[in-house]
Symmetry: C2
Subunit: 194 residues, 2 copies
Amino acid sequence: MNFLEERIKRDAVVKAGNILKVDNFLNHQMDVSLLDEIGREFFRRFSHKKVTKILTIEASGIAIAYPVAKEFGVPMIFAKKSKSVNIDGEMYVAEVVSYTHKNLNRIIVSKKFITSEDHVLIIDDFLANGCALDGLIAIVKEAGATVAGLGVAIEKGFQVGGKNLREKGYDLQSIAIVDEMNEADGSIVFRTQK
Amino acid sequence: MNFLEERIKRDAVVKAGNILKVDNFLNHQMDVSLLDEIGREFFRRFSHKKVTKILTIEASGIAIAYPVAKEFGVPMIFAKKSKSVNIDGEMYVAEVVSYTHKNLNRIIVSKKFITSEDHVLIIDDFLANGCALDGLIAIVKEAGATVAGLGVAIEKGFQVGGKNLREKGYDLQSIAIVDEMNEADGSIVFRTQK
């Protein structure tokens, strides 16, 4: 097991409805040492790529993207969730269905921060059905920029997001892939990775 | 001028309605080197205090709290904005009026992450009327914990938040205090600090 799998095994809680609760170290209370290690791991996996920007989505994605941006020495940008109807022409816009909150979010990124010259590494904390990553990819494409890769901390391997994105040819790196989890006994099975 | 005042002078834009736009380095696109320097500066200003937790509010606060938590070697927690009516008893709740978005947010923090033993340093990116900080202070008090101090990156000194909080006796440290700004010529006047 790698460092993140070990931490999940120790501190995560499996809840009904395919919820993996990691709010004591990853997305409510945050362990910055662990996040720094996540940043170094993504750098190790993507350092052969050209990366000019890190893109994530608010809120908890910001804390994953921070150490990655630091490792690469490039700016990070977070897409904002916006309910407002009036989006001026200076924004890239994509629609994202939230699996957790069961609602539709419009996500926006100011056009001035991603140009066709950029090679964008997209980072997020969780991947389940892939809706957030799809939205972020749509924004990078709208900018005419290149998707350098996709990095997520925890992938739910039993949901379709990861499979779909790999089939589309994206270089998707998940530090921990949960293939099975069981609410009854709290057990978690990780996919073996090279 | 300190490093943040210099950056504001160089890259911020003064907009109508008392808006200071810093979206190219602080709250949309983010310069992680600058944020690291902000973290070191808050550590310098609060290192004589006992600090066991860093508390901020989503979204852009997370990127300021991250380097502060790293300097202090303690966990960070971000309060979540919640529209949901059903808050179970496991959450501290406070109501916050957003100056920027002109709406009311309920902010929540899980009770398990702040106890009466904690000394909490509250961090945010902006201070204007102080509503967000008031909400975070209310949560720390509800937990029976101690407010170790308040650190904000940019204070709008011409609005009442900073004055009110200092009068209440809080150790409020703002790295840059904007006392005047002028949309017409883009000029910004900073308060002289020791």
